[in-house]
Amino acid sequence: MMSPGVINIMIHSDAELLQLMFIGDEQAFTALYRRHQGIVYRFALLMSGQASIAEEVTQEVFLALLRQAHLYDPSRGSLRSYLCGAARNQVLRLIARERPYLQLVEEGGEGEPVTVAQLSDGDDPLNNLTRNETIKLVRQAVLALPVRYREVIVLCDFQELSRVEAALALDCPVGTVNSRLHRGHALLLKKLRAAVKLDPKASSAQGRRCFA
């Protein structure tokens, strides 16, 4: 699929590729795009739940890079963080634009919907689900999170950015990322418990913990 020139240029760093892109090297731009489009696309997909939004976000993010590459300051962080930050802004804009039409939680789909009877009463909320059910359930729960928690979880847990990188992408302190990550996980577990009727012992156990 890739041309030989693109393969050779893949050994260059982001900074080198950006410099080449500045002077009109199309292969450098292609290499940058192929290197980072996946993370941008998947971030937008997990944030919005819609492939059409993810596609549009990816295009807009790289179009902005093409036109405003000078806005990226390598001393502030990686290009990956910068692109994720740009993708986040685009996602929020598109979600706001399409909010009246956005179906955050998919219904139906290729498989049967998950019912309580199919689920385990054991300690592990996802253990007895099929892999597809687990994936569907987790994605639905993530999409149902408030945006400020969703974006942190998508960046840190799904895209595996460091918390420092996530803080750069979200333009907030690392401490904020940490607290939102904890709070987001707690909300996520709550939603999953509600979805799979997690063992009541687990839910009530939260109240018995010693925070003294």
Partner: protein, 262 residues
């Protein structure tokens, strides 16, 4: 270690990313004596496993090839933009850029109508001077239209009149004459702006007539061309007017005829 301290570490503990060995050991000891925290850690690991399943599922998800193709078109267009005025557009995409483009065009049309009104009034008042220039041999060698530059209301530093011509007389069919750029926002220095775009627009004279300005263009179907400089925010920053050589020659013939009649 109490449950509050454990809670701060549980995410890293579930991922085996707790670098402090002592804290890790204390946390694991705590889970042996604290059932809620043991359950909390188990839940976190289960959640992590679910997330990893999603990551694996999406690992091969990528933007469709048409996105790369569209971006390459934009890259090539931008690379060529320095040679010819064009607004980089994305083929086949809905949304943001088309909205911006149409908003910008609407704003440009309004600005153009205003500037054209001033332009036309100035042109009428200085018409006799133009006729003299058209007749003189020196002026016939000068490229560009014999027009007076527009005077912007309330503006002291009116741009000096200067016209440019593309191509030569031999290529008159493709040649254009343009005025100097006129800054639309008082005091703005275009050299400090970045990512400017140049957009060619064309309006029928009837559009100006219908806008209710004091100008009546005859014939109404005559078209007025202009190049508009757009800022990064899509707002018009400067404008210049464009005429083809055939337009210019017809203007000269008309003016010359008027002069002879006078």
């Amino acid at each position: 270690m109490n449950c509050r301290e454990f809670e701060k570490l549980v995410l890293d503990l579930a991922r085996d990313q707790l670098s402090d060995a002592a804290k890790r050991e204390q946390s694991l000891v705590h889970t042996k004596i604290c059932e809620p925290c043991r359950t909390r850690l188990a839940e976190e690991r289960t959640l992590l496993a679910g997330m990893r399943a999603v990551i694996a599922e999406l690992a091969m998800e990528e933007a469709p090839a048409r996105v790369e193709e569209a971006l390459l078109v934009a890259f090539r267009t931008q690379s060529a933009a320095t040679a010819s005025p064009a607004l980089v557009s994305m083929p086949g995409r809905r949304g943001h850029w088309s909205e911006v483009r149409w908003t910008a065009v609407a704003a440009i049309i309004l600005l153009l109508l205003s500037v054209m009104a001033i332009f036309w009034r100035s042109g009428i008042s200085d018409k006799s001077q133009q006729k003299d220039r058209v007749q003189s041999p020196e002026s016939s060698d000068q490229p560009g239209p014999q027009v007076t530059p527009p005077t912007l209301a309330g503006r002291q530093d009116v741009p000096k009149k200067r016209t440019h011509r593309r191509g030569s007389r031999d290529n008159s069919a493709e040649s254009e004459v343009v005025t100097q750029f006129f800054i639309l926002k008082e005091g703005e220095d275009l050299t400090t702006l970045e990512n400017l775009s140049l957009v060619r627009i064309e309006l029928p004279g009837s559009a100006i007539n219908e806008a209710g300005t004091a100008i009546i263009l005859e014939p109404a179907n005559a078209r007025v061309k202009a190049d508009v400089v757009l800022g990064q925010d899509g707002l018009a920053r400067a404008i210049r007017f464009v005429a083809s050589v055939s337009d210019r020659e017809s203007i000269e013939r008309r003016d010359y005829g008027n002069h002879r009649t006078n």
